[in-house]
Point group: C2
DNA sequence: TGACAAAGCGGAACACTGCTCCGTATCGTT
DNA sequence: AACGATACGGAGCAGTGTTCCGCTTTGTCA
């Protein structure tokens, strides 16, 4: 409040040194650039070199690779999360909103080389990434899903967590073959969600 | 020709040395064991150690990791491939056959620690794995799909290749969270395949 | 301004893994 | 038994993640 401290501790927290914040910014920019060309699992050394800092620095600012990835993409994830309620408000078909929102998410994943792979990877250093994405987006997805169920557009059995992971999984390895288009399969998944009133009342 | 040769070449192919075939068997057994405990991307050294051979030997018999994985699981993949036509013949609903067959495939993938991950990985040494699985199973899946389309149970837009990859993707990372069950999502995908007789004008 | 402690930095060093290469051992044949 | 072909073993190189500690920079206080 009065003193420049952002945490709840009462110790006098000295604000970060100027070179530290500078380096953090530099690192974020460098990482973003490297991610584009070499994917999110580019060698740490490469990112450090691009930023012109030593490896100790990168590990100090971002202890795990996931921390760095999250920091780089945080804005886009936030934007995606915030788009959820907006889409829901902008239409009278919650299912259509869900579909649009999922489209946003897929676009995001698909345009980040290797991000989907990393997201599902169980290798060390990526759990936090997984956690952040899910913590932020699952609630949004839940709202959309609930709304669609309430509107009677889909059947109620699916959990948002599972759906999100499924969608993420479908986006893995998009670049390996032009015949594979995650979007088509995600659309299929969403269709599978629909309440089958057609064939129920097929009579 | 007269000499024991199994390939089409006419050079006198001497049969493999006894220790070589012995080692190959030992390696397969060791690899199978290690895959169970450490996953299909266990260190090559570990497999070599388990088999009691040097690393040169393992690379000579199985130049890439995919070759080893394929050799270990070949029988199961073959069994899965052969089950396709059988299932189709055993029912009058091709879609039901497809569903059962997909179930077999999912069971196979899901019980092999990390296999699904490897299958989709674009990392070096796994392309051949990808290729083998797909070459062997896509034709089977195509037949099932075609039959279901012909029977009017599903709509015709989906390619077997894409479906297989989608299913494989959905099986990635099953162990990371008990809330994630690939089977449910695969079922959803299959439901999405169904012909919605709404838009089917021929009714 | 100058001195000093804390904060931050750099990169050498270690561990682990994939993969190659070649001297040596083994096998099968004559 | 001898000998050439075949196969083996593992040292060694290269790439990467991660740690650790001596050195530099920064902010503060007299």
């Amino acid at each position: 409040m009065s003193t420049p401290s952002q945490s709840s501790g009462e110790v006098p927290v000295r604000s970060k040194r100027a070179d530290a914040v500078r380096n953090q910014q530099t690192l974020l920019a460098a990482a973003a650039a490297v991610f584009v060309t070499s994917g999110v699992d580019a060698p740490i050394r490469e990112i450090a070199a691009k930023a012109g800092v030593g490896m100790g620095t990168i590990y100090r600012h971002f202890p795990t690779r996931a921390d760095l990835v999250v920091a780089v993409y945080r804005h886009q994830v936030e934007a995606c999360a915030e788009a959820g309620p907006a889409l829901l408000a902008g239409t009278d078909s919650p299912f259509a909103a869900l579909r649009q929102w999922v489209g946003l998410f897929v676009d995001f994943l698909v345009t980040k080389h290797g991000l989907a792979n990393a997201l599902q990877s169980d290798s060390s250093g990526f759990e936090a990434l997984h956690t952040y994405f899910l913590d932020r987006l699952v609630p949004v997805c839940t709202r959309l899903l609930d709304a669609a169920v309430e509107a009677g557009e889909i059947r109620p059995c699916t959990q948002a967590y599972e759906l999100m992971r499924g969608i993420g999984n479908l986006c893995v390895g998009r670049d390996s073959d032009p015949r594979y288009d995650p979007r088509r399969l995600v659309e299929l998944l969403l269709q599978g969600l629909r309440r089958p009133d057609v064939d129920a009342g097929k009579r």
